[in-house]
């Protein structure tokens, strides 16, 4: 075996986490024009309510895969003015990535301005490529009620954590959902007309089984890695969580079934549930029904039963642990957007947050109403003041 065997730790000199070095906005939300030059340090945005902080980090979230942190359509983000909406909007960025410096542009498709088009180095970019180059995670005030809210939101949040380390996870999820919707349509027609083509349903179930198994396997992998990171971490200001995934496929895989056995079993389960799914009007089994559970370890309490502040701290702890886990496993941490995360933290936790971010070495984007909230970063962050659709770096 050569000297550079599998036990050699990843070189610390390797290009680390993705970092935006220039961000240009045109007619994006309340920004007519913005051109920010940045370095790889965390970015702290401060300004009054309604000044455009969330809009700015939303633009950053548009560099990764998906529809960004507000899940907004292309039409919602173009700037509205008194005279009506602007024609063309765009987000342009230059960034350091694992592939070196790249340029990325996303904005209204000139051929159809109601749609969004993304170009990487001037060429069309796939979602998986974006996920590989700009792994990204975010916590916004929307996630405040995550633990007590709907199951599907929690699963979506967890799938985003998985996607930050597994760039194909998003496409797999889309493939699964698509096959499931197609199958359900056939089962709905069955209920209406009494006619069904079993070969067609079976072909769709094969797609569901293969994508579904890949989904569950990626989630389980991520969960094991994340829980390992949490367990090994020194105690910090953020509480430790014990996580679980409750889902049929995840359970089979956790029991030790290999992927192809689990896939076969899921395929059988789907064939056996056609009548039930047809009557119910939706698919009753599969990884779209998986539940993410979390317990506050120190309190031995379900996350949903914790106080609002504790729930938020648990989430922050999870996001930070996932960043650290990915930095360890992949040599690069995802970009971490924390919108208004500091507002409800006491001084000690704000210090803990800054320390954790600086240790992982990610370009985190933080927002808050006052600059003082970011004091613990000192000179190790860059500061941007936001004022009514304008933003500029301040020293």
């Amino acid at each position: 075996m050569s000297a550079a065997g599998p036990d050699t730790p990843p070189s610390t000199a390797a290009p680390a986490s993705a970092a935006v070095t220039r961000l240009k906005l045109t007619n994006f939300r309340n920004y007519a024009e913005l051109d920010l030059s940045l370095d790889a340090r965390p970015v702290c945005l401060f300004g009054a309510n309604g000044s455009g902080k969330t809009n700015l980090v939303e633009a950053v979230s548009f560099l990764g895969p998906g529809r960004g942190l507000r899940a907004a359509g292309a039409d919602a983000v173009r700037r509205h003015m008194a005279e009506g909406p602007a024609d063309i909007w765009a987000v342009y960025a230059e960034a350091l990535t694992r592939d070196g410096p790249v340029s990325l542009a996303t904005g209204a498709d000139p051929a159809d301005p109601a749609r969004r088009r993304t170009r990487l180095e001037g060429a069309a970019a796939t979602q998986s490529e974006l996920a590989r180059l700009f792994p990204m995670m975010w916590l916004t005030p929307r996630e405040d009620r995550l633990w007590a809210g709907p199951r599907a939101d929690r699963l979506r949040f967890f799938d985003r954590l998985v996607l930050a380390g597994e760039p194909h996870h998003g496409q797999t999820a889309i493939a699964y959902e698509k096959a499931m919707r197609q199958r359900q349509r056939l089962l709905d027609q069955w209920a209406e007309t009494g006619r069904i083509d079993p070969d067609w349903v079976h072909a769709l179930e094969r797609e569901m089984a293969s994508a579904g198994t890949a989904l569950a396997a990626a989630r389980l992998d991520a969960l094991v890695r994340l829980q390992g990171e949490i367990d090994e971490r020194p105690e910090t200001r953020f509480p430790k969580a014990d996580l679980g995934l409750e889902g049929t496929l995840e359970a089979w895989l956790a029991e030790g079934l290999n992927a192809s056995e689990a896939e076969d079993r899921f395929l059988d389960a789907l064939a056996g549930s056609r009548r039930r799914d047809s009557a119910a009007g939706r698919s009753l089994t599969g990884p779209h029904r998986t539940e993410l559970t979390a317990r506050h370890r120190a309190k031995d309490q379900l996350a949903a039963d914790c106080s609002t502040g504790e729930q938020k701290a648990l989430l922050l702890g999870l996001a930070l642990a996932q960043c650290a886990a990915l930095a360890r496993a992949r040599g690069a941490a995802p970009v971490l957007i924390l919108d208004e995360a500091c507002a409800h933290l006491d001084a000690a936790r704000r210090e803990g947050l800054a320390a954790a971010i600086l240790e992982v070495g990610t370009q985190a984007w933080l927002t808050g109403v006052e600059r003082q909230l970011f004091e613990p970063f000192g000179a190790q962050a860059q500061y941007v003041e936001v004022e009514n659709g304008r933003a500029g770096a301040v020293s």
Binding site: A111, D112, P113, T126, S128, H168, Q171, A175, K178, A179, R181, Q182, R183, R185, L186, Q189, D197, D199, W200, H202, A203, L204, R206, E207, A211
Partner: protein, 200 residues
């Protein structure tokens, strides 16, 4: 309705806007361009379109578009009749021909299964494929369908339907990225995908 131009121009713009890749704005630009280049472009284009509409038909054997039926590929003695490559659209057939990756014959399905779009087995050219697969001379069917959910579902479906026929069923392997569409792949990738095809 645009007050500045007459109904003829409006109709032209509306029709152009139905072309793939053209929105209302680019359709307006195309219409203006055509009107400006009336002799060099608009009239020859109208003539070419009229002729194509009158003469081009779908090959009853494979579904390809040509002025003859059977099409030039089906009629050619130089194409291997033992191997049939199944594609979604004539556009995919053209992509494979551009890459010169394949010397057999084709079968154009005319789409892929999509319950949400109301496209079922009856809307696709499947029955004819089963008939062709059952012929003595046919030995291999290559499923060259796009690596999309609908493309792969259709591939599974056809593979099941062809189970009774004594032919090898293969599909394009490595090289076709997930979510990839044949039409957008470069020629080298397509040739590699043909070489490394695998049992479906």
């Amino acid at each position: 309705m645009n007050q500045a131009s007459g109904p003829e121009i409006e109709r032209l713009i509306q029709l152009l806007a139905k072309l793939p890749g053209l929105g209302p704005r680019s359709a307006r630009r195309a219409a203006l361009h055509l009107l400006k280049k009336r002799e060099q472009l608009m009239e020859p284009l109208a003539e070419a379109m009229g002729e194509a509409a009158a003469k081009i038909r779908a090959c009853a054997e494979c579904g390809n578009l040509d002025v003859t039926d059977p099409c030039a590929i089906c009629a050619s003695q130089r194409r291997d009749p033992k191997v049939i490559c199944v594609v979604e659209t004539v556009g995919d057939l053209w992509a494979l021909e551009r890459a010169s990756a394949f010397k057999g014959r084709y079968h154009v399905l005319g789409g892929v299964l999509s319950a949400l779009d109301g496209i079922g087995p009856d809307q696709l050219n499947v029955a004819k494929l089963i008939e062709r697969a059952g012929r003595e001379e046919t030995s291999e069917i290559i499923l060259a369908l796009n690596a999309t959910v609908d493309g792969q579902t259709t591939a599974h479906f056809i593979a099941d339907k062809l189970e009774g026929a004594s032919v090898d069923i293969t599909s394009l392997a490595r090289g076709v990225p997930v979510g990839g569409e044949l039409d957008y792949l470069d020629d080298g990738t397509l040739a590699a995908a043909f070489k490394s095809r695998r049992p479906a």
